[in-house]
Symmetry: C2
Subunit: 355 residues, 2 copies
């Protein structure tokens, strides 16, 4: 921190993304990317002709992309805001719906970005611990007077919060915004999108980084009532009106229109996840029930840190958070079947080696 | 504004980007895009193979792009931050270097985004009017105790602030950050980049949207001391660590490496600008001295609003701001020679028509 930094910025709590080492070819199971390339329709959409148009600004209203997302979810364009990844959308939502007299609440074990963004806007955060078994019980949020953010499925646990509970939360205070971060919902979670027609205080945030194989394209979206979306646009136009580049607008629209490819990818990830969970359990791992494209698991024989480091030595990257309550857990992305076989083989060898 | 909006967000002052009508093919001289396509090297860099890698996250450290920018300006990578357009970088800088006890100052007639971003972070802005002739006199800023932002060349006037004045501003208070927004500098302005070696309180912000024909790619960059850049990264990692997508990282690096193409484009724009200024003056326009890829001009016969509307009726879009001091001025982007000939022809016809 330099002498030039504002006091607000000195209180920031920056997020640490999963490591991207360049020194060796790793099996990368640490940032929840898809093991599958983007849809062939994405490669068609990002044509040389379109690349040649990069001298023109992108459409700040993201008209075509928003319409494609709206169509996929049986909504109107006024119910959609697209962003430069869902992280950007979350930042817009934190600014729009939290502030003086509107605190924000989320779980102790959840996506680390929420706390970074609270610090960015100087928000008062209320941390509501997950239950002993890492389940999120919506009862714990019912009386909280501010904005609630729930990752569902949660990260890094992969566990889901049941919809009836979320419905109660939405109904308890119709003036309170509930943000459901569904980054991982397509791998077996239950989406709140059908509730949008009933509750105008519900904002659903999704991303194309995981289930639509576009992590490097940076496209996320929010679905909500026209009122909430207009509020988010107010922030967007104060921050960065041309927030999505031309090629990602095209890639995102092509990806969301290729429903068959999307379904096939999600199904394959779920099948590989089932195989991986079974294999890990056979090795004596405790594995939380996952509806995401990752599993959260701990060994009964080696610490999380030891496993993380030794897997890395063997060329396999997984995510270890090294913090209270989850110190012995690893978050392991579901890669290809072959990658997961390599993981299981390495884990088995490490457990055999012992301490 | 909905009942859900935070009080902070209700005080926002969103920016209105130049219109992008879809109903007709316009000659678009309203958003300062380049009339030239991106470098052929950009088309090579964004290959089908690279598009196929969109399932992987982009490099959050922007290593390759930052190195390319650093090399071009004879700096180190630690002196560079790249962003999703320079608007994003300006937002990071406003958060990093302004806040409680650090107000921000800029001109009354300048890039409209500064005031939007001040509102975004709840900053106290001090507006320092340009002189009567629209020149920015650095004397007017010397005693201001907070962060100073100067667009140089200024938008929408196109006029430059002389470097000796900026040097005095940097020296007067070494603890005060001076942000020089050089979005248009490549068209004949004098860059502050050579001053970076002398002043660690100087931040230079540039964009690839204009002189490097990448408006639709959304790539901007900041150049400054390692301390200032580290501060900006602190904000970036609190907001959106993967802020640039994979394809724009490649496009940006390719664009900045093609020096010959860049020089040729800048030269062509300056030649067309000279022609345009002369032609406008012949028609009786007052034209401010421009070092940018646009001119700011007013007619002695028709109001700014009338000219704007009638040019639009004839299929030519220019930017009219309709605010105090500049109500009769139009900001006209320098397009291709052919486009400018069409503009002059239309303007001549409108002046002949009269009121």
């Amino acid at each position: 921190m330099s002498r030039f930094l504002s006091s607000e910025a000195s209180r920031l709590n920056p997020y640490t993304p999963g490591e991207q080492p360049q020194d060796q070819l790793y099996i990368k199971l640490n940032t929840n990317e898809s093991p599958f390339p983007p849809s062939p329709k994405v490669l068609e959409a990002v044509s040389q002709e379109e690349i040649g148009k990069l001298y023109l600004y992108s459409d700040p209203a993201c008209t075509v992309l928003n319409a494609a997302v709206a169509k996929r979810y049986h909504l109107q364009s006024e119910n959609v805001l697209t962003g430069n990844g869902s992280d950007e959308i979350l930042a817009f939502a934190f600014r729009a719906f939290c502030g003086e007299g509107r605190d924000v609440a989320y779980a102790d074990i959840t996506y680390g970005f929420y706390t970074a963004q609270s610090a960015l806007f100087g928000l008062k955060e209320t941390i509501i611990p997950l239950r002993e078994d890492f389940s999120l019980n919506v009862e714990d949020y019912l009386e909280f007077p501010g904005t609630v953010v729930i990752a569902n499925p949660n990260a890094p646990t992969g566990m889901t919060a049941p919809l009836p509970g979320i419905r109660r939360l939405l109904e308890r205070d119709p003036n309170r915004v509930v943000i459901i971060d569904e980054a991982y919902v397509d791998f077996g979670g239950e989406s709140c999108v059908p509730l949008l027609k009933e509750y105008e205080n519900l904002l659903v945030v999704q991303t194309m980084s995981k289930s639509r194989s576009l992590a490097g394209g940076r496209v996320g979206f929010a679905l909500g009532s026209a009122e909430l979306i207009a509020d988010l646009n107010r922030v967007k136009y104060s921050f960065n009106p041309y927030n999505i580049n031309r090629l990602s607008l095209l890639a995102g629209a092509a990806a969301i229109e290729d429903e068959d490819y999307f379904q096939a990818c999600c199904k394959a990830v779920q099948e590989t996840r089932s195989w991986t969970v079974k294999a890990l359990k056979t090795l004596g791992f405790t594995v939380l029930p996952s509806c995401a494209n990752f599993v959260f698991a701990k060994s009964d024989r080696l610490s999380g840190e030891t496993l993380y480091r030794r897997l890395k030595d063997r060329g396999i990257l997984v995510r270890w958070f090294g913090r209270e309550r989850i110190r012995d857990y690893l978050r392991i992305t579901i890669g290809s079947q072959k990658q997961m076989e390599a993981l299981i083989e390495a884990a088995a060898a490490l457990l055999k080696e012992g301490n």
